[in-house]
Symmetry: C2
Subunit: 165 residues, 2 copies
DNA sequence: TATTGTTATACTCTATAACTATA
DNA sequence: TATAGTTATAGAGTATAACAATA
């Protein structure tokens, strides 16, 4: 029962005890902003970082990429264009379907996303290091539980196939 | 010690136990995405929602607004233009400084941000409701602790004045 | 006919630089 | 001179609609 739900976390106002919703909102903005800042150090936007991120263990078609990123295929064309211009990804014609184009991470792209990823991991770890070890463990356990419960609640199919649909 | 730090939370891959960093990252994307989706239902972007959010308890100048949102003043001009065109905010000339312009929430703007805020609160509460009550309390406590520790670590001045600097 | 990807177009969001009006 | 705000311009990111090539 928060009287003023914080859509925008007020950075300078952190009372002793936040409501769960406010705490989650502020923490989410903090983590999201951290990734944004670290990516920007490498001239990457969040969406460019996500693009490289999903390509780390996939070589999807443009269409599959659109589904993975939740974007229209025309948006992905521009996104990949700009990443390709920087030499971070490559387009490879599909041999199986001559309409299709496979998108690949280049070595430069892989190196870049690894750097951002490592920096992010380090920064968040440092932040979590501010907590007593027991809290950190409890937080980890509860967050896993929450994500699992939410996934189940949304009916997420853990074996959903990219090619399906 | 995660072998593959998740810059991009893979939505379909939620193992039993996430590393604290991965859990935090995935949870943050989930909460951020929730706000984005709810705002979009009212044709608001995240940044427009933030704009309305910071105006709920302030009537800042354009300059102060730029600092609050972390944007260049020219970006804020456009942001406020579009919100004003929709009747969500109003520009009021400052009487104290005839160069300055104060930005106000209109009744429509206040109503809209309240709706989004309420929906967000409800949605996140529902998600948190998936947790046992004890976990929810522990999560709340730990998140508050983490945010406070981080703020202290960053040397945040809780009494920072808008007009200062 | 249906699907894959691109192009044309329009809009939001962002920043830099130049400008006007005030201080 | 310095500050507040706008404008001009450029670019990223997004979507819709229309299109060409292939299935």
């Amino acid at each position: 029962m928060t009287s003023r739900p914080a859509v925008v976390p007020a950075p300078a106002a952190i009372p002793d005890r936040l409501s769960p919703v406010d705490g989650l909102a502020q923490l989410s903005f903090l983590v999201y902003g951290t990734l944004e800042r670290l990516a920007a150090e490498h001239d990457l936007s969040i969406v460019q970082t996500r693009l490289l991120g999903v390509l780390r263990d996939r070589k999807p078609t443009m269409n599959q990429l659109a589904k993975l990123l939740g974007l229209d295929k025309s948006s992905v064309t521009g996104l990949v264009d700009r990443a390709q211009r920087r030499g971070l990804v490559a387009r490879v014609p599909s041999t199986a379907d001559r309409r299709a184009v496979l998108v690949n991470l280049t070595d430069d792209g892989r190196s870049l996303v690894s750097q951002v990823s490592t920096r992010f991991e380090a920064e968040v770890s440092t932040m979590l290091g501010l907590l007593p070890s027991r809290d950190r463990q409890a937080l980890s356990r509860i967050m896993s539980r929450l994500l699992a419960a939410h996934a189940a609640d949304e009916g997420v199919d853990l074996f959903a196939d990219l090619d399906a649909g």
